[in-house]
């Protein structure tokens, strides 16, 4: 296996895109290639993620992006793994490049849903769950995570203030991120006053419906020894899965796929949990960040809430978590999220994260979940 790097990455401003997903994806892909100093013709394969492209009456986006980039003869394919789509795309790119099949590959994730109303957007999001056995029985996406939150509270006594601390922290980080959907900090009081969406989750426990696009360029070290920016060495690229239906799993207080993907990733990287300097984790809801920190092995089960209220996961804490603002406040354009986590880590490694720069960026982890954990990616990055 060849040493493989992320040589370029880019994200647009999440929120409401005036342009189509197709346009945004092509623009952000070109930006990532420019950051890498690569000509599009050097790309051997393009992996595109756009779960809800049908909401724009468009599928088969890969050839459209490659054509727009002037490389119509480059192969492409769509990678769908719900909210973990573009991290799954990154994994495929890694496999292709590390395995020697291509010297460089492009990963693009994009989503545009802002033209839908809340009812339709909620219905689209619910498609990531099991339609026949969950959604048709009343589950919504917030509802499924809220059920996990209830179970977590029942077992560990998780307090509303602990969930609120995740929201307050991530909004504060997003306020320093020009790419974030939400640009304003919130207080715990604002959080506690917000309406309940799916008990116990309130409006400020939930990520927004965002438009957005992000791209990552992956290259083999031996072919791209002098990238334009400081590359991320891909120390681990791990994927895992678990029983699709939440009710059939052995636990309702965590996501088994996160645990198995994390174990695999740390084994691949040859690293311990304590060596990670910061992490971008999948916080589609505040409870998801707490469960992620526990399932990834950074905290014992039931221990992440207290660590969060004590500031351990703030930018200057023991383990900065979601300096980008996370899905919660940076936004969650489903298929762009995994690639955008990598774009944030790229910024941090290159010292370009300005006010949200973490004190130490030598080893970073990205964790991206599909739906309620039917699929999951964990990537670990280091320096050359």
């Amino acid at each position: 296996m060849r040493e493989t790097w992320v040589v370029g990455a880019a994200s647009n401003r999440f929120g409401r895109m005036p342009e189509s997903g197709r346009e945004a994806a092509a623009r952000v892909a070109l930006e990532a290639l420019d950051v890498a100093g690569l000509d599009p013709k050097e790309i051997g394969y393009t992996f595109v993620s756009n779960c809800f492209g049908i909401a724009e009456r468009q599928a088969h986006l890969g050839p459209l992006i490659n054509t727009a980039l002037g490389i119509p003869d480059v192969p492409s394919c769509s990678i769908e793994s719900a909210c973990s789509s573009s991290s799954a795309g990154l994994h495929e790119a890694f496999v292709h490049v590390a395995g020697g099949f291509e010297d460089a590959a492009l990963v693009v994730g994009v989503e545009k849903l802002s033209h839908l109303d809340t009812l339709n957007a909620t219905s689209y999001f619910a498609m990531g769950a099991d339609y026949a056995f969950e959604t048709r029985n009343g589950a919504t996406f917030p509802g499924l995570y809220a059920t996990l939150a209830h179970a977590h509270r029942q077992k560990f006594g998780t307090r509303e203030e602990e969930l609120g601390a995740v929201a307050v922290k991530n909004h504060a980080n997003a306020a320093l991120n020009p790419h974030a959907h939400f640009q304003k900090p919130i207080t715990l009081e604002t959080y506690l006053r917000s309406p309940v969406i799916a008990s116990p989750l309130r409006l400020y426990d939930c990520c927004p419906f965002s438009d957005g696009a992000a791209a990552v360029v992956v290259g083999a070290r031996e072919k791209h020894p002098r990238p334009s920016a400081e590359p991320l060495v891909i120390r681990a690229s791990a994927r895992s899965g678990s029983i699709a239906d939440m009710h059939d799993r052995t636990t309702l207080t965590g996501l088994p796929a996160t645990r198995t993907a994390a174990d695999k990733a740390f084994r691949q990287a040859g690293l311990e949990r304590g060596q990670v300097d910061f992490a971008e984790v999948h916080d589609c809801f505040t409870i998801a960040e707490l469960m992620a920190l526990e399932d990834l092995g950074f905290y014992p089960a039931g221990g992440a809430g207290r660590a969060t209220t004590e500031g351990e996961t703030e930018r200057d804490g023991r383990l900065p978590v979601n300096p980008s603002g996370g899905l919660k406040a940076k936004g969650h354009p489903v298929s762009a999220t995994g690639a955008s986590q990598v774009a944030e880590i790229f910024e941090q490694f290159n010292g370009r994260a300005a006010g949200r720069q973490v004190p130490k960026a030598e080893i970073a982890l990205a964790h991206n979940v599909g739906a309620t954990g039917g699929s999951c990616s964990v990537h670990i990055f280091g320096r050359r």
Binding site: N137, T140, L144, T147
Partner: protein, 141 residues
């Protein structure tokens, strides 16, 4: 590996049965795991000798959330409770209870009964709330 002991129903047959109120179908694996979720092999042990069983309509809530923002199929039903129910005799299913507006109206450990309505999904009611007909009609396990 052993083949299924009998042909398994399609998802559509399965759905129609519980929405018509005729049967709440499930599957039991040779390892003992019972689920309502359709599959060709056991999601726990991977064995293919899965047999169809009638699930008991009575159960206990193990987790829930009151939904205030529904998806399109439940547009006129919010608020309601999405519930995960452990059925007597085995099997855990997702379902819902209509008319629940707050966390104070439902609790983990509450007894519920599968009570079909004209609305979609596996619908439950609190046990003893005039919902015992389904239990008796299907034998109650």
């Amino acid at each position: 590996m052993a083949e299924p002991t009998q042909p398994l129903p399609s998802i559509e047959e399965h759905r129609r049965a519980y929405e018509d109120g005729t049967r709440l179908r499930g599957f039991r694996s040779a390892c003992g795991f019972v689920t309502a979720t359709w599959g060709l092999a056991c999601p726990r042990c991977g064995r293919r000798d899965v047999e169809e069983v009638d699930l008991d309509p009575r159960g206990t809530i193990v987790a829930f959330s009151v939904q205030h923002v529904p998806s399109d199929e439940f547009l006129n039903d919010a608020p309601y409770a999405y519930v995960v129910v452990d059925l007597e005799g085995g099997g855990r299913v997702s379902g819902w209870i209509d008319g629940v507006g707050s966390d104070e109206e439902v609790a983990v450990g509450d007894a519920v009964v599968w009570t079909p309505t004209y609305k979609p999904g596996v619908h439950f009611r609190p046990a003893g709330a005039g919902a015992s007909e389904a239990a008796s009609a299907t034998g109650g396990g």
